[in-house]
């Protein structure tokens, strides 16, 4: 199936091109705010690392490096599949695009499952210092709590973003299951793709900042 690709021009725009550019700039601006949101966490990680280098290393050695690395690969694959979906949307191949969007969402879900397993391992290995009823593995090193806590906050915030991303992807896929979607709303796929790539990119910074830099 193929057909003309386009967008429905809203009342306050002059042309489809103007609407397209406006949406894209809006999303980029939003992603800029997201970047600053996460950079607050990165700078905090850096400060803790400078102030307590040995404690941070002790925590980093307890992080599940291979789960993190696998998840990095999973997200790169999901970004690739999203890129394919975007390219297909430009070509007007709606059904095939739909499949790649579902694949993207599925890869996101794989990430979340691996992440969940990682949290479970953290629980088993007594690496959850914020649980009052459970002993903490590195209790002798109080400063290590800071970095462990930051690890949970950062990965948690990223997981929230990814969950939202999977939700958006599924809603978009549901909308795109109707015929004629790409004739009216091709733009939405591009915008969704920008957000998805951004979540992946943030992980590309989270992973080295938490797992790699301090080993």
């Amino acid at each position: 199936m193929s057909g003309t690709v386009g967008i429905k021009v809203e009342e306050h725009f002059h042309s489809a091109e103007q609407q397209r550019e406006t949406a894209r700039l809006g999303m980029w601006t939003f992603l800029l705010t997201e970047l600053l949101l996460f950079s607050g966490l990165f700078i905090t990680a850096l400060v803790i690392r400078v102030q307590h280098p040995t404690s941070v290393t002790a925590v980093a050695l307890h992080l599940k490096f291979w789960i993190g690395a696998t998840n990095t690969a999973v997200l790169i694959l999901s970004s690739f599949s999203m890129s394919v979906a975007i390219e297909l949307s430009r070509l007007g191949r709606q059904r095939l695009m739909l499949r790649f969007m579902l694949l993207t969402a599925a890869l996101g879900a794989v990430f979340m499952m691996l992440k969940g397993y990682e949290y479970y391992r953290d629980y088993v290995e007594h690496m959850m210092p914020f649980l009052p009823y459970r002993s903490y593995e590195l209790a002798a090193d109080p400063a290590s709590r800071l970095f462990t806590n930051l690890y949970f906050i950062t990965t948690g915030l990223h997981a929230i973003h990814l969950t939202i991303g999977i939700g958006i992807m599924l809603v978009m896929a549901w909308l795109a299951s109707r015929t004629g979607f790409l004739q009216q709303h091709q733009n939405r796929i591009e915008i969704t793709g920008l957000y998805w790539h951004f979540i992946d990119l943030v992980w590309m910074v989270v992973f080295p900042t938490l797992y790699l830099l301090n080993r």
Binding site: E11, L25, G26, L36, T44, R145, L146, N149, F152
Partner: protein, 549 residues
């Protein structure tokens, strides 16, 4: 239609309208047409009503603070209630009034009109931002009035995470939510300026108010997320036990202050820059003269926004900072004063040999310059590390930032409301009452806050309500000034609301001002212009001759 209307009507309007089409206020009049509107003008009015309510609440808290300070022994309120009062005052005034004040009311209303657009880039997002704002701020208000928060608006750790025995978690959540509304507005404005300008509206034909809104939006977009993350970390520490700043475990509370002020200093410019934009419009219109140094004013807005990101440390000179960092932040704070000074000089040069009309908006503009200069110069005093050591955390600081936030932002806000009131409502207010209120504002404001400079210099610390009796005279003077200030706020509320029903019809351009917003009808139609505007004129092409009254 009265005959005076016809004479005032701008000749630019293409067709003589005998039976005027419905303007944005009358096109639909159901409740749902207001609360589900995507019209930027109506959203601006929704914001105007909501922030006025918050302003009243914040002012009541301020009034109670001043009441408490009349007596030196702090007998009127307990310490706990006093702490809750100044926190309430700070949180409401900063986040629920000052930050959204000019951008979300006048900015929302005027930005598309000024650049010849039908609406902002994302009208639904604009409405969403109002809902987010109202829900977040009402929730915070509820928490702070029924429960109370006693940390001050700054939420410093470990006071806020360990020691404060009040409703910090809920209040912080509310402030985070309101932050999203700022982000959405900033994003919307930035994209609107980039993508929705009318044909011929080049960057250097934009009114200076639009330039200042653009700079403001940049700050909102770049700084607000950092506040969000700082408060998320605070929330995680207090609510979930995920401590990151906890000094008991070697955490660094000063890190929280850094993150907090990385937002909260630039946000001072979110409050001031739109006020400066309003000033550029008022001064040119009432001097009837082309603005002096258009590009300098435009770029100084961006300069303030950019440099404003590198001065946050001057709030923390004495909170554990290396002397080298202090030196750098001090230097940057001096540098950020340069673009502000450029603006003031340019306005002075614009007024010089202009055909000046001293109507109400111009009176506000004149008092703005005076108050801003006092606030700015004392800001330089505070930016020098040595002097800051003497007056740090005293009433000197309180007076300084009130000169900037009230003396600059609120005065510009009132001046702007008076200037564009005929455009917003189609009605004229009572000019004599307007002038009386502008004078009352100027004198009441100075009487309230100038004594606080003296108190601070003499050593009275902020946030205490027990003080040595020798400070009482100045405190009573300040409280008396606050009463006058209250009258200066209440008058406009009365005569502006009165004018909605009984005011004379304004005509399209009662001030003979330039700019696209004055070429359309008052109030404007739903889509702002009857015909798509094409801009073939330079900004502020005033004749330098006062129009005949």
């Amino acid at each position: 239609m009265s005959p005076s209307d016809t004479t005032l009507r701008d000749l630019h309007v293409p067709t003589p309208v005998i039976d005027p089409p419905d303007d944005y206020l009358h096109v639909e009049q159901t409740l749902s047409s207001w609360i589900f509107t995507t019209d930027h003008k109506r959203i601006g009015l929704l914001y105007l009503v909501s922030i006025t309510v918050f302003f009243l609440l914040g002012s009541i808290a301020a009034g109670l603070i001043r009441l408490s300070l009349i007596v030196p022994d702090g007998e009127i309120f307990s310490n706990d209630i006093y702490n809750r009062l100044f926190t309430l005052h700070g949180v409401i005034m900063v986040w629920f009034f000052l930050v959204p004040s000019i951008p979300n009311t006048l900015g929302n209303f005027l930005l598309p009109l000024m650049i010849g657009a039908k609406d902002v880039a994302f009208p639904k997002l604009n409405l969403l931002s109002w809902y987010v704002f109202v829900l977040g701020s009402l929730f915070t208000m509820f928490v702070m009035i029924w429960g109370g928060v006693d940390t001050g608006w700054t939420f410093y750790t470990p006071l806020s995470t360990e020691y404060a025995d009040s409703y910090v978690i809920a209040a912080v959540l509310g402030v985070i939510v309101v932050g999203f509304s700022s982000i959405l507005t900033g994003l919307n404005f930035m994209v609107t300026v980039h993508k929705l300008r009318a044909p011929g509206m080049t960057w250097f034909r934009m009114p200076l108010f639009v330039w200042s809104l653009y700079a403001t939006s940049m700050i909102l977009v770049l700084a607000t997320p950092v506040l969000t993350i700082a408060l998320i970390l605070l929330f995680a520490e207090r609510a979930l036990g995920l401590a990151v700043f906890d000094p008991a475990n070697g955490g660094d509370p000063v890190l929280f202050q850094h993150l907090f002020w990385f937002y909260s200093h630039p946000v001072v410019y979110v409050m001031v820059l739109p006020g400066m934009g309003v000033m550029s419009e008022l001064i040119t219109a009432f001097s009837c003269k082309r603005v002096f140094g258009y590009k300098f004013i435009a770029f100084s807005s961006l300069g303030i926004a950019a440099i404003g990101f590198f001065v946050w440390g001057h709030h923390m000179f004495y909170n554990g900072m290396s002397p080298y960092a202090g030196l750098t932040f001090s230097l940057m704070s001096f540098i950020v004063a340069v673009p502000s000074a450029i603006k003031v000089y340019n306005w002075a040069a614009t007024i010089h040999k202009g055909a000046i009309r001293l109507d109400t908006p111009m009176l506000y503009a004149m008092s703005w310059i005076g108050l801003f200069v006092i606030g700015g110069v004392t800001g330089l005093m505070l930016a020098s590390t040595a002097l800051d050591g003497h007056v740090h955390d005293t009433y000197f600081v309180v007076a300084h930032f009130h000169y900037i936030m009230v003396g600059a932002t609120v005065v510009a806000f009132l001046g702007g409301i008076h200037f564009w009131w005929p455009k917003i409502t189609g009605r004229l207010y009572s000019e004599p009452w307007g002038r009386i209120s502008a004078f009352l504002m100027f004198f009441g404001f100075n009487m309230t806050f100038f004594p606080q400079y003296l108190l601070g210099y003499m050593g009275m610390p902020r946030r205490y309500h027990v003080y040595p009796p020798s400070y009482q005279v100045l405190n009573v003077l300040s409280s008396a000034g606050a009463t006058m200030l209250a009258v200066a706020y209440i008058f406009p509320m009365i005569y502006l609301i009165w004018s909605l029903w009984y005011g004379e019809r304004a005509g399209d351009n009662p001030w003979e001002a330039k700019g696209l917003e004055w070429t359309t009808t008052s109030p404007p139609p739903k889509h702002n212009f009857h015909h798509m505007p094409v801009v073939d004129f330079e900004p502020y092409d005033y004749p330098n001759i006062a129009p005949e009254k």
